[in-house]
Point group: C2
Chain length 214, copies 2
């Protein structure tokens, strides 16, 4: 079987944005779009769009452009959101509950199946119909319920310890909201959401905005 050359993370970062714009175009009833029109809409170069897409296949047609619905579907497949991903959230604090209460993920096939917390007062409650279980049941739950992704919304020390206990349960990815880097075997993918770093970048760009502006 042909080995595909690895796609750079720079490209992967752009795919969800293409996907979002294509979804909006579908909602507007647009059937086809050229790389040139698309580039104007998104504020990127047409060249980049064509290059990016051609890493995955020839989705366009000369003289016509791209079929919006088809391209949307293809990028969805590439992103792996044509299938269901089962998730559990560890940490039923404000962020954990916010994730559980956010229905947008469900639409894209990300199903939050359960929450876990060490606080007995939270155990047994539910958020948006998603139940909170005691933390010591998490490994067992993952194994029995085909859980692929664990979202960690706990303090950093707890996150580091938990990441260790999750190795070997069969999970494929960690969605890490703790402000630390997790060291796990490389077959477990870690995606970080570091809100304080995001805020610091905003701060930098505000403070230096005369320099940043082009």
């Amino acid at each position: 079987m042909m080995e595909q050359k690895p796609i750079s993370q720079a490209i992967i970062k752009r795919l969800p944005r293409y996907y979002r714009y294509l979804g909006e175009l579908i909602a507007q009833g647009v059937e086809r779009i050229s790389s040139n029109e698309f580039s104007k809409l998104m504020g990127v170069t047409a060249s980049q769009i064509r290059q990016d897409l051609n890493n995955f296949g020839g989705f366009g047609q000369q003289g016509y452009g791209y079929n919006v619905k088809n391209l949307y579907m293809e990028i969805g497949k590439i992103l792996g959101i044509d299938r269901v991903h089962n998730i559990v959230v560890i940490g039923a604090g404000n962020f954990g509950r916010a994730l559980a209460g956010y229905s947008d993920f469900e639409r894209r096939g990300f199903r939050i199946k359960a929450l876990f917390d060490r606080d007995p007062k939270k155990v047994g409650t539910d958020i948006n119909g998603i139940e909170v279980y005691p933390i010591d049941q998490v490994q067992d739950y993952i194994r029995k319920n085909n859980i692929e992704i664990v979202a960690l919304t706990v303090p950093k020390d707890a996150a580091i310890a938990l990441a260790q206990t999750l190795v070997g349960t069969g999970i494929k990815g960690i969605w890490n909201f703790a402000h630390t880097d997790l060291r796990v075997p490389k077959d477990i993918i870690v995606e970080n959401v570091h809100l304080s770093e995001s805020l610091m970048r905003l701060s930098y760009n505000i403070v230096h905005r005369d320099k940043v502006l082009k």
Copy 2:
């Protein structure tokens, strides 16, 4: 006054991570560190660390390395977190409340002063001592309370409309949690936190992880 050459966003993205590691080194009582030791700790090249830092000044000393406390302070200054940034959050839903309840930001000088919501039932309540006001008071509040940053945790259509009304109030940045791109004048900096895009990248890297692994 000498014009500084603009710093690339690639570098700016790395600064908060340096800052975090330096904070941890301070907590561990480490006084000095060479770019080589630091590079091993962080998993980047020593060359990159030296190049990055030298964009802002010569913080090190030949034959010695970098003074941890000093470098931490300098990067803090560069990031603009040596000062207070007043924030309001629009949208007192799960995410807005999670932000208001998260005390880590406060420590770095990011002060969440108020929440705003259009739901009268939420108005008058408070989260972590931060009060919820009616949405139509937000412009007035921003002007009177020296607000620099607005966090938007509302649905995308509301976010687009609100971004427009915020232009001209004097805010310097928008921390955008809505799943859309905001079009505002370029003197207002937008920092996006697009959780569904983060989740899609995780999905991609999970599904293609045999290709992604090096």
